[in-house]
């Protein structure tokens, strides 16, 4: 269990109010000067959404773990060069987005995954067969069937709460293009996940 910086062994979080008021950028700059507690505070803020971003983005927990650690390692390694010219959150997810795209480019698993999923569609899921594990599986497959750009944009929006403009900036594209990607992503997911009943 990751303990909050300043949290004592008895669970009383004496420094929590102070830490919670410190901005991400200030924490990152403190970490760049060697403050380990600042890193832990930042890590605590972003660990779960970033991990979910990769799990949903790749559909594979082992790959997600690898990419997740890569991003934090890059942040740790580059801390001395960090400049607060952009919001830390934008910086972090920019690194994550690039890592995800880079992973698919290097391994070409996107095409393989689409081929595999299309080749072996799940059997229809009837109401009386509803099972949580199968729901998760269906959702994961539907996400993997999305084009990478749409999937990355949709997952970024869900995990970060970024505006369309911020996601467009991270993905290095225009706002209108991003709006279209997000709209298509939701439409395709809805169609895919409801296909058993159409």
């Amino acid at each position: 269990m990751l303990r909050h910086p300043g949290e004592s062994a008895d669970g009383v979080d004496k420094a929590a109010p102070a830490i919670s008021e410190i901005t991400d950028d200030a924490l990152m700059l403190r970490y760049a000067r060697g403050d380990k507690g600042a890193f832990e505070a930042l890590y605590r803020r972003y660990r779960l959404p970033l991990y979910r971003y990769f799990v949903h983005g790749t559909g594979d927990e082992a790959t997600a773990e690898e990419l997740y650690q890569d991003v934090w390692t890059k942040l740790i390694t580059a801390r001395g060069h960090y400049k607060s010219t952009a919001k830390f959150k934008t910086y972090l997810y920019g690194v994550a987005s690039n890592r995800l795209v880079d992973y698919y480019r290097r391994t070409s698993v996107r095409n393989n995954a689409v081929h595999m999923v299309n080749a072996a569609p799940s059997s229809p899921m009837l109401e009386d067969e509803l099972d949580g594990t199968r729901i998760l599986s269906r959702l994961s497959e539907a996400l993997q069937r999305l084009p990478l750009e749409q999937r990355s944009a949709f997952v970024l929006q869900r995990e970060t709460g970024f505006s369309v403009a911020e996601i467009a900036e991270i993905c290095n594209t225009g706002v209108e293009t991003m709006k279209s990607r997000l709209r298509y992503a939701v439409r395709k997911l809805r169609k895919d996940l409801r296909s058993d009943y159409d």
């Binding site: 060697g34 799990v55 650690q69 934090w72 997911l189």
Partner: protein, 169 residues
């Protein structure tokens, strides 16, 4: 409501084509926490990196300070006497002092030439003294010294002859 119930509820909403059902199903799905071994790997990385920095940076800083201090010690002495500092180092660390030394050195060269021309200073002695002088400090431009002295051409030739016979000029 358990996670399973939550998933079922959103799934049914999706089948009814409710607004926002896709997004709500997505939010309810996926990991609820980061595996502890993943946390441990990241935090170990940051601890290792900081430990490297915290341990080695003070050592490196101390080494730089010691080097800087020891290299500055000769500045308190005549660098040309003890040969502890090169002319380049003197010019870099103390340019004013270097210029003063050059002026002083040229003045000594002038006095030596005048002594050779105006007294009974032996040619060999003049050469030896000149060699000691030129080897103990900043280089001396003989032509400039002779021009400053505004010597007659015979006297300049005499100085040249005396020093040219010594290959060290």
């Amino acid at each position: 409501m358990t996670d399973q119930d939550e998933l079922h509820r959103h799934w049914r909403a999706l089948q009814r084509d409710d607004d926002g059902a896709v997004e709500e199903l997505y939010d309810a799905a996926g990991p609820k926490d980061v595996p502890s071994h993943v946390d441990a790997a990241v935090l170990a990385k940051v601890h290792d990196t900081l430990n490297w920095w915290q341990v080695r940076w003070p050592v490196a800083s101390a080494a730089v300070v010691v080097l800087a201090v020891t290299s500055m010690i000769p500045l308190g002495l005549n660098p040309y006497d003890d040969s502890k500092m090169s002319r380049f180092e003197t010019a870099v660390f103390s340019p004013e002092w270097d210029r003063a030394l050059t002026r002083q050195h040229r003045a000594e060269a002038t006095r030596l030439i005048e002594a050779f021309l105006n007294t009974a200073l032996d040619e060999n002695e003049f050469r030896k003294s000149w060699r000691r002088l030129t080897h103990s400090g900043p280089p001396i431009e003989l032509d400039e010294v002779l021009m400053e002295l505004d010597l007659h051409s015979d006297e300049s030739s005499r100085v040249y002859r005396a020093l040219l016979s010594d290959k060290g000029i």
